[in-house]
Symmetry: C2
Subunit: 424 residues, 2 copies
């Protein structure tokens, strides 16, 4: 295959994670080793910025800034929730696609990397197909990123290990706190974590038990298992009787037997048309306080969990960077329309490598926690899950601090001169 010489463009999409920038660093640092890649550009705010020709010159960044991306959470190039929706808005999507290729051509983009989750892999796949259709020679690679861990084919997703590590530390610490306050009256604390359709994040907090059944979390409610109020209240009562306190972790998308999210606020939808959820823990608190007359508090970690670079997983950060580097190598090897996936070789000791999966297999498929990785009663992930998740949180990312706080990298983002008329 003839070597493809040209410029590289990378952009980030969807909800940030603690290690999404590590993947960007992986791409950029590996790109520096390949002479076929000339300029290295970043697209601001994902494809939204590319549509607006808002590109920045990443060769103008300090080398230490690129290295610093390995421990800097959130999306250094900014992100978006913008979909090429050929089903619902075919004309707009077609117009957007035309504009994207105008920008690619204007800047001689021959390598395009899109770091994101399900929706973003779908976007990358469509861009790849369009490049083929237009015979525009460009290598398109998706780079996996999602705290939700719901991409198929990859053993797990970069971003997942770090959210689990932080959430586990939080559950453990809150458990110490609530346990040390517990007197005969008993108490309950409900910690709501992210996870819309898949319960991977909530399930991961089982690692906080460190193998001791008496340790928190005592109950984990997953979106995959319909919420059964009576059985739940019985389990809370039993736990308080045994320990004087009960720590419950719930995924934001926990559903009742009718498949309705118990904490859904149906009045608001995000840009992808998903219902905005924010109330599962509050709903459960109402139930526990109302039915059991048990002192109950809630914690809503929200965005804090996916941005907690100060306690990110070193394993996760390493894998995220490796996915970026593998995507780059795949592209320079002539591949397009692929996503690096993490392949587990063994759990103990933990060994993995990276292979490439066609994007067509990945886009818009959601991968949930297998039923046989969850206890029969549905209240805790079992040993199979623990064997899977345990290696992913190992190791601490070292972060520099200044004045007692993390010193994260902010890129200069020197703009690339625009070559096109403004988007209309």
């Amino acid at each position: 295959m003839a070597e493809l010489i040209g410029n590289l463009l990378i952009a980030q999409s969807g909800g940030p994670t603690s290690v999404i920038n590590a993947s960007v660093a992986g791409v950029i640092l590996e790109a520096g080793r390949h002479e076929c890649i000339e300029e290295i550009y970043g697209g601001l705010n994902g494809i939204l910025g590319i549509l607006n020709e808002d590109l920045v010159d990443l060769n103008d960044e300090l080398q230490k800034s690129i290295e610093g991306l390995k421990y800097t959470p959130a999306a250094a190039l900014s992100t978006c929730r913008y979909k090429l929706d050929f089903k619902k808005k075919p004309e707009k999507a077609a117009k957007d696609m035309d504009r994207l290729f105008e920008v690619f051509q204007a800047h001689n983009i021959r390598y395009f990397f899109y770091v994101g989750g399900n929706d973003s892999q779908d976007t990358a796949h469509k861009i790849h197909e369009e490049a083929v259709r237009r015979s525009y020679d460009m290598r398109v690679m998706g780079v996996p990123k999602t705290i939700d861990n719901d991409l198929p084919h990859t053993d797990h997703c970069p971003g997942y290990g770090s959210v689990v590590k932080y959430n586990c530390a939080t559950v453990m610490e809150v458990g110490f706190d609530v346990g040390s306050m517990a007197t005969d009256g008993g108490s309950c604390c409900i910690i709501e974590v992210m996870g819309r359709a898949a319960g991977w994040i909530a399930a991961g907090t089982v690692l906080a038990k460190q193998g001791n059944p008496a340790n928190p979390p005592h109950i984990i409610l997953l979106p995959e298992i319909p919420f059964q109020e009576e059985a739940f209240l019985k389990r809370v009562t039993e736990t308080v009787a045994a320990n004087k306190y009960c720590i419950v972790v719930c995924g934001e998308g926990v559903k009742n037997a009718n498949g309705e999210e118990i904490g859904a606020d149906k009045t608001s939808l995000d840009a992808f048309g998903h219902a905005v959820l924010a109330g599962a823990a509050e709903k459960l608190k109402e139930i526990v306080q109302g039915k059991l007359n048990l002192k109950t508090r809630t914690i809503l970690l929200g965005y804090a969990q996916r941005a907690a670079g100060h306690f990110a997983s070193a394993t996760d950060a390493e894998e995220a960077a490796a996915c970026g580097a593998a995507a780059l190598r795949g592209a320079t090897d002539g591949k397009s329309g692929f996503m690096p996936k993490i392949v587990r070789i063994s759990s103990q000791p933990y060994k993995w490598n990276i292979e490439l999966q066609p994007l067509v297999d990945v886009a818009n498929v959601e991968h949930c926690v297998p039923r046989d990785w969850i206890s029969e009663d549905g209240f805790l992930p079992n040993e199979k899950f623990i064997e899977y998740a345990a290696p992913l949180i190992v190791g601490e990312v070292k972060i520099p601090t200044e004045n007692g706080l993390p010193k994260y990298v902010v890129l200069n983002k020197n703009p690339v001169e625009k070559k096109l008329p403004a988007r209309v």
Copy 2:
């Protein structure tokens, strides 16, 4: 003064912090140097456990466990919210006091240390006065502890620096996240932190700005400043216009112009009769979404913030241990009815020492953020506050980890043989 030989009893009370155990370690390790102290006992669940004669032998703990208390959050001896309420329940309080002294005498307790906040210092003060009244020779010392930072006389309270450090890291990281997601539609994130009457915890998050006005938090709402909806919404609008996003930190006890907490759930009271608050951020979200039609998310850190040993302040932990050691030395020097206080010598460079303050000056006095430490418009603490708070979050407590999670100490808690009939 004749040397007082006998046993030591230490207990913890009120809400835990990341460094309340460091104070216990300070007392115990210093006690090991004083021959007048024979046995070292811990009272479980504060005075509630002492009333029940639930004492544990701290000389039976591993030395490394005592050292490990320096980085272990929450109350290793467990705590309580139990008040000797001579005003409302004088007969019960008098009976409790009799029982406490039966326990003290039965176990030859001559040194009593009570680690806690306002209410706990009041309890310590009453026990000291009672010992004097009974001519029971016992040295009673309060040891300051409260994330709320509302004890008078001491420059600040052990526990405060750590909650501020963790909350600042969270605000900074959430700011990176929300900022990197911000597109033209704008967005708002409201982070609710603890602080019932005093806004010290909320105010402390100003340090996350690191001196840059554009950095989050953009607005900090304190219980000390009546909430003005119109001015608040104007500021949110201006902030979003400038930055595309706005991070708001609010103390749980933010009040309207009538002095009513905007997020109060008046139906539930804690053991001290304070209203339970949990809804300020949700209330503000309603206002922002309703009036500005701006995408708004909330974070409720709850207990996580006061238990976050994984990102505790080394300065705070050192001061907490020093307060414990100073209390012990004060007691062996013959003092009773005092609390160690931190005296600031200079802010830059940060220098401090510890002196003793009579408990009578401390008990039940609340210390709020001075008005002239807050900007005229009330939305941000000013330079005076920043100079005060900045040194308190410096340094990271090193914690051992195991399987990727903090490895905190759990005491053996070998019970001391009971010598009294059960409490009736």
